[in-house]
Amino acid sequence: MTNPAKITISKALESLKKKEFSAQELTKAVIENATKHRNLNAYITETFDKALELARNADQNYSQGKPRKLEGIPVAVKDLFCTRGVLTTSGSKMLSTFVPTYESTVSQNIANHGTIMLGKANMDEFAMGSSNLTSHFGPVLNPWKAKDNSADLVPGGSSGGSSAAVSAYLAMAALGSDTGGSVRQPAAFTGTVGMKPTYGRCSRYGMIAFASSLDQAGIFTRSVEDAALMQEAMMGFDEKDSTSLNIEVPELVSACQKSIKGMKVGIPVDLMNSPGLNSEILNMWQNSIVMLKSQGAEIIDVTLPHAKYALATYYIIAPAEASSNLARYDGVRYGHRTEKKDLNIEELYEYTRSEGFGTEVKRRIMIGTYVLSSAFMDAYYLKAQKMRRLISEDFKTAFSKTDLLLLPTAPSAAFAVNEKFNDPVQMYLNDLFTIPASLAGLPCISVPAALSSKGLPLGMQIIGPALDEYNVLRAAAALEKSVSDINFIPQGY
């Protein structure tokens, strides 16, 4: 029998209904994996005992014929979702002792559908990073390794723990968050599916904020259909979030079976022609175009003329919002408080924050404070907001001629944990392809689409117009079908 831990959610739900195995057996199998591969450091906090308890309840529901939509599915939850009674750290020393008395809407939503939380997934500190190297709790290891090299690789970030967990079968799905690419890029690095819906589809209540106008809950799964299932459970209007969209949650699963014949797929040719584009990434892109074409899609050239300014725009807006969102971490009501004695209030703040935050977080707070300060507000923050509008308009223009856009997720495969980045900007370039859709708040997904020459997974990204998660999943499923012959399971797992 296939290891129950290693099947998709949709298959698992079928099997559970057919009583091929029990929810407890399923949870136990996944827990065994998670225990076996602790070295990946995917979890900051494990909640295995509680999970088994929940699995017992799940079995009861099945035996009474009343299973909920996702009854008994073990999942990981990125550690920036506040979970009642369970340590929530946001990957930071600042919150290393914080136990919320409340639950985030999104984690509550999926729990209401019957998912079972196995633990809190590791992440870059306060979601700032593309590698999971900035976590106070140590880096997460990518279960994938290059063919000829035993060096540890990063799983991507900031949702590194979530992506590694799903990739290595330490969870069947994992909640992540995507601000500039923090779900899509790790998905590409770990050969998993990573999806971010339209901004406002998922509530941000209870999500530890990084950049409020960009943050959005996302999901890691093994298949596009699983992503559809999970998204249906995650989304929905929440009156506690003013930016939450008050619209119906769409039916998404059927999208995965729908043919893409006649769909107009746009290729941002200006990005395709960027100098220095990795040739393997370019190959994958071109192959994906062929694959979609063969399924009946019409390929159309488009341009995103302002996408080249997206990185600068993002690195003004996101740090600006973050510098303000992180001002509440002052050691007074919760979290780290400096142990130094005889301080005045200013010193309390300064020592607490300097001790509690890591270097990347401090860097972003500094950038954010700088671009908002009065002398520079117009030149940076205001300008970035205008550029954001232009980038948004670029997408609207592109979507007037096309249904979707197709482009790579990341500019390279996963890099080594020990890779030297001389300069923070080099790390920021990882988000080149993901940032534009974040700035425009559009639904997007990363699907494993090729293996590099070194045998590492590469991902392709599909972006849709606002609220069109359905067609994004539809094309993603088509792409997934095209590459169904490729084995996206890391060696040894």
Partner: protein
Amino acid sequence: MITTTEVTRIAKLAKLNFTESEIKTFSEQLTNIANLLDELKAVDCSNVEPLTSVCDHTQRLREDKITISNITDELFANVPGTTADFAKEIKCFIVPKVVE
């Protein structure tokens, strides 16, 4: 060029303290980042409206009702520091004395 003086000023606003060598490193790194950000100078945006939110809708209004009762215990559940017990006892958050 973001000078060390500027870095010090920003650090004070952000309530962070740094060693001298950290300040120097930040000065270099932030200058590099600022160079990235300066790319925006190339585009004329004088006729463009800033985009503050990708949401199409406007601010929702809620009814004026009391929906939270006394949750003092929850508020102090995570209070940190050596004064934590005292804070819970007097039900006030405690900071070093502020002189106005």
